[in-house]
Structures are given as C-alpha cells and as structure tokens.
Symmetry: C2
Subunit: 319 residues, 2 copies
Amino acid sequence: MSDADALPMVVPDPSLPTRVRIHEVGARDGLQNEKATLPTEMKARFIHRLADAGLTTIEATSFVHPKWVPQLADAEALFPLVDDLPVALPVLVPNERGLDRALALGARRVAVFASATESFAKANLNRTVDEALAMFDPVVTRARTEGGHVRGYLSMCFGDPWEGPVPIPQVVRVCRALLAMGCDELSLGDTIGVATPGHVQALLTALNEAGVPTSALGVHFHDTYGQALANTLTALRHGVTTVDASAGGLGGCPYAKSATGNLATEDLVWMLRGLGIDTGVDLGRLVATSEWMAAHLGRPSPSRTVRALGRTTQPHKEQ
Amino acid sequence: MSDADALPMVVPDPSLPTRVRIHEVGARDGLQNEKATLPTEMKARFIHRLADAGLTTIEATSFVHPKWVPQLADAEALFPLVDDLPVALPVLVPNERGLDRALALGARRVAVFASATESFAKANLNRTVDEALAMFDPVVTRARTEGGHVRGYLSMCFGDPWEGPVPIPQVVRVCRALLAMGCDELSLGDTIGVATPGHVQALLTALNEAGVPTSALGVHFHDTYGQALANTLTALRHGVTTVDASAGGLGGCPYAKSATGNLATEDLVWMLRGLGIDTGVDLGRLVATSEWMAAHLGRPSPSRTVRALGRTTQPHKEQ
C-alpha cells in the first residue's frame, strides 16, 4: 500500500448525519490571515482547484475596506475570474458599502461578521455588539431583497482573549438577533480555539432551547489547542451538518505563538470519509492543492493529513 | 487575560468518565522514535519533571536489545535514577532476557509489545503473530509470579502499512490471547494513525462482545492524520479511562512524511480539563517541560497546546 492509496477504513456511526456540507474558508479567512499577499491570478487558480477537488461552497473573498485587509484588496478583480464555477461562492461584506460592491459584481451569497463579545466588537468593528448588529440589519435586509442568501458569522462564541470564557446566554442572544434580522445560517466561531466538547454541546443545546434549529447552525473551530476535530465530531453528533474548514489549515502560521489556525479541510475529510459521511471531496486533489499553496507561501501546511499524504517534501529546514 | 492564564471553560459531559488515567509514553515511545539520543541524566530529569507535573504513570524506558533501539540503550543506568519517584514506572520488555534485566533492577510494572498483523510482527519481531505470543507467554507468567503488573501493547489495531485496513476479528483474537496469558491491561495502538471514530467504536464494541471488559482497555492514538483526539473522545464515550499520550507529542518528527507522532499529552489534558475530567496534571508545568525538551531536540513541539501556551519562541526559522 503506498501513501497515495492510504485511506481510512469506512465504519459509519449511525448516530451521525449521513451528509455534511463543508464551507471552505481557505481563500477568504485563510488568505486574509496569511502574511503574504498573493497575486489575483493565483487566488483564482486556488479557488478553481478547490472546486475541482469537489468542494461545493467556497468563500471567495471579502469586500471589507482594503485598508483593513490588504490581502484581499483585489476582490473586484478576483470575483469575475471565479464566478462561472458551478459552486456556491459566498463573499464577506462588512457593511452596506461592501454589499454594494458585491452586488454590483453579481454576488448573491454574502456573509456578515458579528461578535459575541463587546471586547472583540470594539477591537474588530469599533462598535458595541448592538451597534454592529444595527449596522448589519440593512445589509441583511437588502441582500435578501436581492434574492441573496446570508450567512452570519459569530466570532468569540466560546472564549475571548480579553474577557475569557464567554457566557452561553450572551452567545444565544446575538445568535437570535442575527436570525431575527434574516440571516439564513449562522457560523459559530471558536476564534481563539479554546472550546472543548462539553462546551460545544452545551451551546448547541442552549441554542435549540432558545428556538434556534440545528439546521440553521454551522460550526467553525480553530485548532489552536488541537481541539477542532473533536469539537466538530461533537457538533456532528448533535446533528450539525455544516462545517467550516480551511484547505491545508490556511490562516494561522503554525509556528506563531497562539497560532489561530482553522481546522484543516483535509483532516476533516479524513474523519468524514472514515465515518462514511459523503462530502464529494477528492482528498488526493485537495492535498495536492494545499501542497501547491504551501510551496507558494514557503512553509509547510499545518494539516497533519497534508503532511502525511503529500507527495513532495514540505518546505522546511531541519535545525 | 494572558496566555499563561488561558484555560478552557469547564463544561462536563455526564456521559463521559469522571476520571482518566494518562499513561505517559514520551520517555519511552517518544524518545525511542526521535533521531537524537539524549544523555541519561537528561532522560532522568525529563521523567522527574513529568512526575512533578502530576503524571502518575510514566513509561520509563525499554529493555529491548540496544542494537534495535540505541536511543534507550542506557536503561540499566537510567532506571535507578528515577525509581524512587512516587509514580508507576512501567518499562518495556521484549522477551525473557529483557524481563531478567528489568526484574534485576526492581522494576515490577512491565509491558510487552505485540502486533495485530502478520506483516508488522514479521517486520518488528521477525516472528509470526502466534510465535510472538508464544514468546511473550513466559514473560507475562514470570512477571506476574514476581507480583508485577503487565500491560500488553497491541500495534496495528486499525490499519497496517503493508496490509491496509485490519479486520476487527483479527484484533479481537490477539487481544483475547494477551488477556488469556495474564496481561492486566491492553493498549490498543493505532500505529499509523488511520483510525476514525466509527472504527474505534466498532472495535471496542466487538471486544466487549468477545468478553473483553472496557476496564481492561487503554487506547493509544497517533496524530498522523490529525484524528487522535477525536478518536480518544470516542473511546472515552465508550467508557475507556486509560489513555496513552506523549508529552509534547514526542515520537514523530512533525516534518517527516507520514509523521507518526503520538497524541500530545498537553492537547489531551486541555480537552479533559474543559470536560471537567480530573487527571491531576498541571498543564503549565507540563508545557514548560515539553518546551525544555523541544529546545534540546532543536525543533518545535508538534503539540498545538505547547505552541499556544509556550512562554518561549519555538526554535524555528521562518523561510
């Protein structure tokens, strides 16, 4: 058996969903957190390769002001290079100005980015939580009037770097507000990676008890403390079927202190494949794509599966 | 909140055990798979620091022939430097000669190392599976006659690099044979890291159905594909309370192709702490110990938690 043939034995767990939709965030959340800014053509090629690997929801870029996220300043140039792909291509819009830009290009799937904590709302949006919600309200309304689909990201759902553990009722309140203004789905973010399985289960249960159906919820875990896949498994066991992941674990330098890397799509696909859960992803093609990207970024992918299955030696100098 | 204070919010899951015993393998399984051979005094210091961090079962060394594992050739010199610690200090013994050496030093907790597959038995022990079991039989009997406690490692319980997926009945047969000869506990090893949660659950269920109680089972997962913690969580949910882990993830170079790193003790402790499961481990002390070891080995720890909580910059040159 060669490495290329290595695949897990398929043993389903009847208590888990039979299908999972991966919301691929590498091209947006991943690249916006990398130091390097890539050429537009390479980003387009990345998105094409992700689609070719079988991913069906690929967050493409962000229409935030270039001053804040210079890595994605080329959204207007990039979107037309990928919008003919037969996949969903949501884009992040921070406000009405961003929505105008996205709509002008024909984008109809958009995402807003809210915070469960005051500290992060202040740091990231320079607003209170409620002021940020008020800013999103017309964005969500207009996007839906245009026939669009709106995802609401909610960051700091478990812990916050300034405030510590985040009370569950506080998260529930913001989730309900985002749904009330018209968001079609939410993505519950563990932005600093501190969540553990009991906490995940408790938040999902509290949301259900507050009237939020599991079908409206996606999960977005970070691997800062190595917990992302165990937390994802816990969410699947609760019935969640939308999981955010980033090809090759893009988005957090694996050597930085407090690396905030996203769950690697390949590590997720390995688990789902072993569980017999269909995702449509060709793992070999996805690994090859992440290796290609890692080579351009000049550092090894933090994804364990990419390292194990990769055909090339990862760029790294032993010391 | 500083990094040093970062701890997960404690949210227990009533379906999980309330206590877990960590079987720390860094000093044996970890160091025997590192390229560098450390001085005896440093190994002794490592074991002392692990005990000081609250670990209660620390596999100390191996009495395999130095020709096969030169990294642990100093077992006779090392054991007397640590045997006054108030913790369990099991040692690996490959055969009767190894047992003689261990008993002569006063060791009473020993472990044998069996294979679930013929290919690995041949490669690692130059015997068939049954020939290896026959070799262990007098070792187990004598160790128990001397009042000892015997752990039976079983490698390749899920997949084998030559044979691919390993049939569950084959694993069950060898487990039963090891228990029948007198092993007190088994450690089910996913030596190449391919297992996924449904497979873990299926093996544990099959073992129970064959009369093996969960209380006799420990699990030993590798993070080759990033699955170790999700698999461990699955085993805990099944009632397993003995989990093998390696401080700092020692034992697999994180940059090698097909890195076969052990589950990092720190990543496990983070999850267990969040779940309110008592282990007695001081995470800060353990992280400091793994950072000290990583500095000596000249490369960053593959443990995500060590990287996130570490006080020093990990040894790595950006490219």
